[in-house]
């Protein structure tokens, strides 16, 4: 089987700032087709922002993002929306529409974008809900779902149009071990079964390293390192080592910047 070396998403020289704060300062990333690529880094590095940039919701100050060969920020409204129909996104909170049922949420993209007859839509929705294990919950309202279930419904909605790529924004955050196991299994099996490309943004090293085919580590607006999970775990870079193994102290210091402890204590005595 010939390896497809043309990446589905090609990011070159990405520069993005929000006001004064520089979020990305020259980032290059390749997302290979058919693989699960993980984008990892400490909280606040802008991983969610990266997904919004890839989806065309935000405009970078410099750099290009090519999705399936198309420069997403040069597209007009109609082409952008057409490209978005081929992308699925799973938000951290699920982002389900709260005033309609689980079934209607999953059916929403089908009603919006396809002219399919109602019977066909019903069958598709039931199949997608079956894939995430929630066919029995189809008449519940989003407020009646637990966090993990809401994410699975959002996942079913994300794949209902059979996209070419699906992006997961912190799918493992705040989940109990069983939900975690379910999500991990779903992400992997969906990717393989439908020959999807997946981008997982997370800071959960263990879960992500277990399913990712490739990992990018981002911090302070730059790509620190990238490689297959085994290489990353055994990296010689100190920073990567601290992150991947969850060490309390290292290049990212334990103590927030401050003057010496003796000085502070003496200052208390001087005041009193």
């Amino acid at each position: 089987m010939a390896i497809d070396t043309d990446p589905l998403v090609k990011i070159r020289g990405l520069r993005f700032s929000r006001g004064e704060k520089v979020i990305f300062d020259g980032v290059d990333i390749d997302i290979q087709r058919g693989k699960i690529t993980a984008i990892m880094g400490p909280s606040g590095t802008g991983k969610t922002t990266l997904l919004k940039l890839i989806g065309g919701q935000l405009q970078p100050q410099a750099g290009t993002i090519l999705v399936d060969g198309e420069n997403i920020h040069r597209l007009n409204s109609r082409d952008l929306y057409r490209l978005r129909m081929r992308m699925g996104m799973l938000f951290q909170s699920g982002a389900l529409l709260t005033d309609i049922s689980v079934f209607d949420n999953v059916a929403y993209p089908l009603h919006e974008h396809t002219g399919l007859p109602e019977s066909m839509i019903r069958k598709l929705v039931l199949l997608k809900l079956e894939a995430v294990g929630l066919r029995g919950a189809r008449d519940l309202m989003p407020s009646q779902l637990s966090g993990g279930m809401a994410r699975r419904v959002a996942l079913a909605r994300g794949i209902v149009l059979d996209p070419m790529i699906i992006m997961y924004d912190e799918p493992f955050t705040g989940q109990d071990p069983i939900s975690l196991g379910v999500l991990v299994k779903l992400i992997r099996s969906l990717n393989d079964a439908s020959r999807l490309t997946s981008i997982v943004v997370s800071h959960d090293v263990q879960e992500t390293a277990a399913i990712a085919d490739y990992i990018y580590l981002i911090s302070d607006g730059k790509v620190i390192e990238h490689g297959v999970p085994e290489a990353m775990m055994n990296s010689i870079l100190e920073w990567t080592g601290q992150f991947m193994h969850g060490l309390a102290d290292g290049p990212v210091p334990f103590h927030y910047q401050a003057s010496g402890l003796e000085q502070d204590l003496r200052a208390v005595d001087d005041e009193g």
């Binding site: 978005r84 982002a95 993209p109 959002a154």
Partner: protein
């Protein structure tokens, strides 16, 4: 001293910036009106939520305002022996001023704050972002139906307010205070003019509907997605809408009824 000037300048720039964003949002909302014709169910649902659910408060307020007008009006007019003109007084006050203005203020408080909170929370829970990523324009899908619903509901609600107010005034004036039944209605019929009074009142409510709904949607859309942010946004909606309604009322009244 220089610092004060710089701060003033910054405030001015901020105000202009927000006004600009509000107008851009309005343009985007209006861009979705044509598409709405193909999905009338969206508009109907919003008409219910924005208009029908306001009927109770508008009706009760209208009735009581009319009753108070009847009482106060009778008290003052009877000092000049003119209490038989109570009908005209009640009707003119309601149709020209109180109907559109009080309805708009109540609307801003009830429907406006509800719209702001709803849009703000949709933004906070990333529903708007989710719609965008599903290749659905969230402004055209979510904001445009609500805007149109507010714009269309306002004159209807003001009409209900005025009508019930007149009934309230009738009940107090004729029923309780002994104003002549015939005089009440016939004076009203001859003195209240369709074009000068009623149409102007409708124009006022349309303008107030436009402005109040616009402010409510803008504040919701720009709200900071936290509980405090949404609370501040709803407060701003009610305060700004009230200022706008009262200010515009003065301008419109001067234009319509001035010399």
């Amino acid at each position: 001293m220089l610092e004060q000037l710089a701060r003033l300048g910054r405030v001015g720039i901020d105000i202009l910036f927000h006004l600009g964003r509000a107008h851009l949002l309005l343009l985007a909302i209006l861009g979705g009106v044509a598409a709405l014709a193909q999905r009338p169910s969206l508009l109907i649902r919003q008409l219910y939520s924005v208009g029908v659910l306001s009927i109770l408060i508008i009706s009760v307020s209208g009735t009581f305002v009319g009753m108070v007008l009847g009482l106060q009006g009778h008290y003052i007019l009877s000092q000049f022996g003119a209490e038989q003109t109570l009908g005209v007084m009640v009707a003119a006050s309601l149709v020209r001023e109180l109907g559109p203005v009080v309805t708009a203020l109540l609307f801003a408080g009830r429907a406006g704050s509800a719209l702001t909170a709803e849009i703000g929370l949709m933004k906070a829970t990333e529903q708007l972002s989710g719609l965008e990523m599903m290749a659905v324009n969230p402004i055209k899908r979510v904001l445009t139906p609500r805007f149109l619903a507010g714009f269309l509901s306002m004159p209807l609600l003001a009409a209900i307010f005025s009508a019930l107010g007149v009934m309230g005034g009738y009940f107090v004036g004729v029923g309780l205070l002994g104003v002549d039944d015939g005089a009440f209605w016939s004076q009203m019929q001859s003195k209240i003019d369709l074009h000068k009074d009623i149409y102007n009142g409708v124009i006022k409510s349309l303008v107030f509907g436009w402005v109040c709904t616009w402010i409510a949607l803008f504040q919701g859309y720009e709200a900071i997605p936290t509980s405090e942010g949404v609370s501040r946004a709803t407060t701003r909606t009610v305060v700004y809408s009230s200022f706008a309604v009262l200010g515009l009322d003065f301008v419109l009244t001067a234009l319509m009824f001035g010399d």
